[in-house]
């Protein structure tokens, strides 16, 4: 059995926190607590999942499961009656969260503000739901706390009294965010109001978290702050550098809000660390990043959840504590890895049904983790809501419709019904994207075909359907949908040109693909996606100089794109610039660790440079990530035979090719 490595774990969630903003503030000594934290611990990127919607992502962080397994889809869900919608609830979560697993192992957890976590779950510890800090702006109005916000119920009054309301705040709180607040004409501009609300809600969560830490025994303390995300959505457009479309007076007033938000979180972190003590393992995570530079979207569409376009694909990961490395960077982590990592810290086995892995790179002395088939089958009270309380809101809605059809209940009003239908369709869209994100296009297909048929006015449903057909190698079906989109949305040429290029590429028509990509490039010159795709096609056509120009342009637009570095690495390999190739491919795998092709080509570069040990390592990672990659196995066989003289390893890989890869290839050829 794996050894317990942490006395206790403090898990801090900072929604939308991003290293791009933080690193700059650390350099300017404006986040001293986090600066010290990462110097004494590890830090790295945390890759998000698609769709990057916070309730889905935070549930993944707490369960180690993707959305199709955990059941939280988007921000709202149909209510129990099915005649309206409610915010997503903890009762819709279908699987155990960390705190449920720990309860079964006799450990105590405190959970504060997790999204979604209302109604409070009856765990062995303090549980404060995400309805706790949702406050009203009304002056002198102490909004009563919703029932079931706090567990145990005896703490209801104590915690209710610890909330901070926006109207309680004074200029002492506001001026650090907006030093020139006095200049604002508040009859017309209500933005100070929303800043006050975010500060008050953040302070309220912090109040409950610190109270729980001081007044209870705990093994796991999980606290979630949404302030950084809210400051970002409200004020990132005023963050330096100034965006062209932002008025100078607005920029001058609100340019410091995001920075002040981060600094406030740094101050709160200091208190959390003080209360946790040195013997606690502390993990800080965000579910996604937030564009803060030239990549900020110029316009947001009116589609539901459109603000998610402001999210960046990498959130933050940082950890510190006993047996954790100091001042190191960890690579290749995703949101799926947090639950396995915390289970491993407690010496508990990881569910084989959890698609992530423990981040073993954090340890001074890593040990192999333990596994069990699943935590879901372990019987006993785990503090989840009872079966009766737990519901599948989508199934409830189906049941509701069935009851209406049978005449048992009256149909809801037309508007309400339309709203519920829209919500249900939106959740199906997110489910389909979850399938696509995890390489399961066949499972996404039915859903996308249905919702596209139901709502052909939603271009994004058609676009994702085309992506799905591309994954399924059905370019002709994709072309059919594309023609429909082109007729219905004649103004979105750049988007459809890009899709058309991808479809031609799938059909093996590279000249046609190039033609459409060049058209797309003309209509949207600074589009990262179009330029990257253009680079890929130039590379395929062996037009290396043009391809190199495209990839370099992509790196200029977004230096943290693994695909651009990968493309450049491949060009340099072709041009026999092996050292340059190795550098680019290392950059690619540093940004995206799960990238078997990049590890393979890195192996090629290192082999040519005669760095045999490191080449071996790169090929090994490639086959770990993609066991069916025959060419990587063949390279390993050659290295083990000619350089390392390990016949048993040669046999191992030869056997793998014979027993696993060849039969699959034969089956594929037959079908």
């Amino acid at each position: 059995m794996s050894k317990r490595k942490a006395n206790r774990v403090l898990l801090i969630g900072w929604d939308a926190a991003d290293w791009k903003v933080i690193n700059k503030l650390i350099d300017e000594n404006k986040m001293p607590t986090l600066s010290k934290f990462v110097n004494e611990g590890v830090m790295g990127n945390l890759a998000t999942l698609d769709p990057p919607l916070s309730p889905m992502l935070w549930t993944t962080i707490a369960t180690g499961k993707r959305a199709d397994e955990h059941g939280i889809m988007g921000f709202i869900q149909p209510n129990k009656k099915g005649d309206g919608v409610t915010p997503v609830l903890s009762t819709s979560r279908k699987v155990k969260a960390l705190w449920n697993i720990l309860m079964q192992e006799g450990m105590k957890s405190n959970v504060v503000g997790w999204w979604p976590s209302h109604p409070a779950e009856p765990i062995n510890g303090i549980y404060v739901s995400n309805f706790y800090h949702k406050l009203s702006n009304r002056v002198n109005f102490n909004k009563p706390m919703a029932e079931s916000t706090v567990h145990p119920k005896e703490l209801h009054k104590t915690l209710e009294a610890l909330r901070v309301f926006p109207w309680e705040l004074t200029s002492e709180h506001l001026l650090p965010f907006v030093p020139d607040a006095a200049k604002i004409d508040q009859e017309k501009d209500y933005r100070l109001n929303s800043i006050a609300k975010i500060i008050a809600e953040t302070a309220t969560i912090h109040s409950a978290a610190t109270w729980a830490m001081e007044n209870s025994e705990w093994d796991l303390m999980a606290v979630y702050y949404d302030g950084i995300d809210h400051f970002g959505h409200g004020f990132m457009n005023y963050h330096p550098p100034k965006m062209d479309r932002i008025k100078q007076e607005d920029y001058d007033l609100y340019k410091g809000v995001v920075e002040a938000g981060y600094r406030f979180h740094d101050m709160m972190l200091e208190r959390l660390l003080e209360l946790a003590g040195e013997d606690t393992t502390v993990i800080i995570v965000s579910d996604h990043g937030f564009h803060s530079d030239h990549l900020r979207p110029k316009r947001l569409s009116k589609a539901p959840a459109a603000p998610a376009a402001q999210h960046r694909a990498f959130g933050i990961f940082a950890a510190k504590g006993p047996n954790i490395k100091k001042d190191e960077i960890v690579y290749g982590s995703t949101l799926l890895d947090i639950t396995p990592t915390i289970l491993d810290l407690f010496g508990l086995p990881i569910g084989e049904d959890m698609p992530g892995k423990p981040i073993l790179q954090i340890y001074e002395n890593p040990e192999a983790p333990d596994y069990i088939p699943s935590w879901e089958n372990i019987p006993g009270d785990c503090g989840m809501h009872s079966e009766e309380q737990r519901s599948d809101p989508w199934a409830d809605k189906e049941a509701m419709e069935q009851l209406i059809a049978l005449g048992y209940i009256e149909a809801p009003g037309e508007d309400k019904k339309a709203h519920v239908d829209k919500t249900t369709r939106e959740s199906k869209f997110y489910l389909a994207r979850t399938y696509l994100d995890s390489n399961r296009p066949q499972e996404a297909l039915d859903i996308l075909e249905t919702i596209y048929k139901e709502a052909p006015d939603q271009a994004r449903f058609g676009q994702y359907l085309i992506k799905c057909y591309l994954e399924l190698n059905r370019p002709d079906d994709g072309m059919r949908i594309l023609e429909e989109l082109q007729k219905a949305f004649p103004n979105s040429a750049a988007q459809t040109n890009l899709l058309e290029a991808r479809l031609w590429l799938k059909k093996g028509e590279t000249d046609q693909a190039l033609n459409y990509l060049e058209k797309a490039k003309n209509t949207s010159k600074d589009s990262f996606t179009v330029t990257l795709e253009l680079g890929n096609v130039y590379l395929m056509k062996k037009m290396y100089t043009k391809a190199e120009t495209c990839y370099l342009e992509c790196i200029d637009i977004n230096p943290s794109s693994p695909m651009s570095h990968f493309g450049l690495g491949r060009i340099y390999l072709k041009l026999k610039k092996n050292m340059d190739a190795a550098e680019q491919l290392i950059a690619a795998v540093s940004l995206k660790y799960f990238f078997p092709a990049a590890h393979y080509f890195l192996g090629e570069a290192l082999l040519r440079l005669k760095y045999y040990d490191r080449a071996l390592e790169a090929y090994q990672v490639a086959v770990q990530q993609a066991p069916g990659m025959e060419k990587a196995h063949k390279r390993l066989i050659k290295l083990y035979k000619d350089i390392f003289h390990k016949p048993e390893k040669v046999k191992e890989h030869e056997d793998f090719i014979e027993s696993k890869i060849k039969p699959l290839k034969m089956k594929k050829e037959t079908t």
Partner: protein, 79 residues
């Protein structure tokens, strides 16, 4: 459980501060207590003086007026 004490909570300013909020429960409780003891009346800061419903009502009224004039509120903003 390790209780941590904060020094000088008696000196919490009645107006509060971000530092006091960052102390969490102990700071917030001390600040609220201090306000009561000092008989401090929270200034009716401009940014809080209207109820959301009032604000919504005003926005609606402006939109209606703009519609009557044949100009959108966005156009008015630009002017």
């Amino acid at each position: 459980m390790a209780k941590k004490t904060i020094k000088n909570l008696d000196d919490v300013p009645v107006e509060g501060s971000l530092g006091i909020l960052a102390l969490g429960a102990v700071g917030i409780a001390a600040w609220k207590k201090k306000r009561i003891e000092a008989g401090y009346v929270i200034p009716n800061t401009n940014f809080m003086k209207k109820k959301p419903d009032e604000l919504k009502g005003e926005a609606k009224k402006r939109a209606e007026e703009a519609k009557k004039k044949g100009t959108s509120s966005k156009k008015e903003d630009k002017k």
